[in-house]
Amino acid sequence: MSSVPLSLLEAAEDPRRRPPLVLGDNDFASVTEKVCGIVERPRPPLAWYIAFAVSSALTALLVAMLAYLFLAGIGVWGLNIPVGWGFDITNFVFWVGIGHAGTLISAILFLFRQKWRTGINRFAEAMTIFAVICAGMFPAIHTGRPWFDYWLFPYPNQMQVWPNFRSPLIWDVFAVSTYFTVSLMFWYTGMIPDLATLRDRATTRLRRIVYGVLSLGWRGSGRHWHRYERVYLLLAALATPLVLSVHSVVSFDFAVSQLPGWHSTIFPPYFVAGAIFSGFAMVLTLLIPVRSFFHLEELITTRHLENMAKITLATGLIVAYSYGIEFFMAWYSGNPYEKFTLANRALGPYAWAFWIVLFCNVVVPQALWFKRPRTTPWMLVGISILINVGMWFERFVIIVTSLSRDFIPSSWGYYKPTWVELCTLAGSFGLFLTLFLLFLRFGPMIAMAEIKSVMPAAGLERGPHRGHGQYWGEIPHQHERRQEEGQP
C-alpha cells in the first residue's frame, strides 16, 4: 500500500512536535478539488459499482426477510420461551453502539478542541446516521405486530390508555429517536457550507438545483458563520450528554430487570465504553479502505488513524475492566444465581461465544499498545474487524446466556438462530453499506470548511493571535518557527 512510506514520513518521531493535520502541498483550492472531485466524477469507479451491487443485493435480502417475517410472524425466528430476545436485540444494541463513535468524534472531540477530528468527523457522523437507521429497525420489527408500533408513542387514542413510562423500553423509544433527530441535525448543519461548495462548482443544472436547495442559499457570510459557529458549539454541547445517555438507556433495558447477569449497576458506563469501542473499530474498518481507495492520505493522515487506535485501546481497556468487575461482583455479592450465571457464561453451553468475546475484545486490542499496528493500515483493519465481531458477540452473550438459564433449571433452554435471523443480520449490513456508498457518491465525505480552518493559511498571518489554523506545536514552537524563518 502506498501509504506505508508516507506513514514513516509523517510519524511524529519527536513527540514535542505535532505533525500537521493536512500533509502534502495542499491549499484551500486543492482540498476542495480533492473532496469534490470524488463526487463530481461523471461515473464512480468500477469498485464502487461492485460494492454497490453486493450491498443492494443484501438490502434486497433484508426486504425479503422482513416481508417473510411480517407475513409468517415472529415464529420464523428461533425465539421462544425462555429466550425471547436473540438476534433482534443483539443487532439493535450492536448497531446503536456503532453509531456512538460518530457523535463522539463530532461532538465530544469538538468540545475538547481535538482539531484532528476535522478529517474524519463527517464520515463518522454519516456512519452514525446509517447505523441508527439499522438499529431502529430491529426493535420495530421484533414487536411481532410492527404495524402497531405507533402505540409506543404517547398520543390520545380510542383505547384511552397511555404508554407505561415507568418501563425502560419506552425510554428507549425516546432516547433512540432523539438521538437520531439530533445526530441528523448536527450532521446536516455541518454539511451546509460544503453543500454550498458543491453547488458553486456544479456543472449541470440538476446538480445546481439539488445542491442549491440542500445548501439553503449559504454564501459564507461572516454574520452567518458567527451564528453557525454558536449553533454548532451548542449542538455539540447538547449531543455530548445525549450520546452518553443513549447507550445508558439501552443498558437500562437490561439493568432495570431482575435477571441475573443483567441486573447490574455497572451496565450504563460499561455499555457506553463498549459502544465507543465498537464504533471506533467500525470507523477504522470503513475509513481505511475508503482513504486508500480515493487517495485521501493527505487529508486523513496516519496520525488520524493512530489517534483513533489510541481511543480504541483506551475504551477497550474500560471494557476489559468491566468484564473483570462483572465477575468480581458476581463472586463478591454472594448471590448464588449471579455467581452461577457468570460461571455459566464462561463454561456453559455458550462458552464458545464468551471466549470469542474475550479474545476479540480483550486480547486483540492489546496489539494497539505498539506503534506498528497503530500506524499500519492493514493491521488496523484486521484488528478493527475482530473488535467488531467481538462486540457483536458481547451483546449476544449478555442477552442470550442470561435468558437461556435463569433461576429454575426446568425452564432452561438453548437458543439457536434460524436462517431468517442470519439473513436479516446480513441484510442490515447491506442496508448500512448501501446508504454509506450512496453518501460517498453524492455527499461531501470530508468536512472541507473545517479542514480549511485548521490549515496553516487559515490564520498564520495573524501573528500573536493564535487562531484555529495554528497547529504546528504549542506556543514555544511558534517562537522556534519564527527563528527558523529568520524573523526576530
Partner: protein, 187 residues
Amino acid sequence: MSEPTAATAARAPRTWGLLAEFDTVGALLAALEKVRDAGYVAFDAYAPFPIHGLDESMGIRMSRLPWLVAAGGATGAAAGLLLQWWTNGFDYKYLVSGKPFFGLPAAIPITFELTVLLASLGAFIGLLVANRFPELYHPVLPARGFARATTDGFFISVEARDPAFDAVGTREFLEKLGAKQVEKVED
C-alpha cells in the same frame, strides 16, 4: 452575468452594493477592521470557512441564539415531566410491578431526552430563521468570481443602502485597502 431575460428587463437593475475580493485571511481581517472603523454598517464578509477573529473584526455582537436554546430546553424538561406525570400519574393510573404511578427517578430519562431534543431543535431552527434560510437567491451569488467564496475566495461587500455608501468613494476606499478587484453588484 447572463443575458437579461424578459423578467429582469422589466425593471432597471439597481445597484445593490460593491463586492471586493481579497487574497488572504490576513488581508480580509485587516480590511474588515478598516471598513468597520470607517463607520459602515451594512457590510459583510464572505469566507469559505469560519475565521477566528472575524467577529471582532466585523464588530458583530454575540448572537442571542443561546437564549432560544435555553428556552427550548426548559420547554422540553417541563413537557417531559408533565407528560409522564399527567398520563401515568393522573389521567389513567395503572399499577405495573408495584412501581409508583409517578416517580421522579424513573421520569428522568424521558425528561432528559426531551430537554435535549427541544433545545437542539431550538438551535437548528433558530439558525435557519436568524440566517433567513432558505434564501436560494441573493444578489452576491451571481457576482463574478463569487463561486470561489465557498472554495478559497475572501470577499467584503458594502451595501448601497448603507448611509456611508458612495459609489465612487467606497470603491476607492476598498481598493486602497488592498482589494484584488472591486465589482459592482446589481440586484
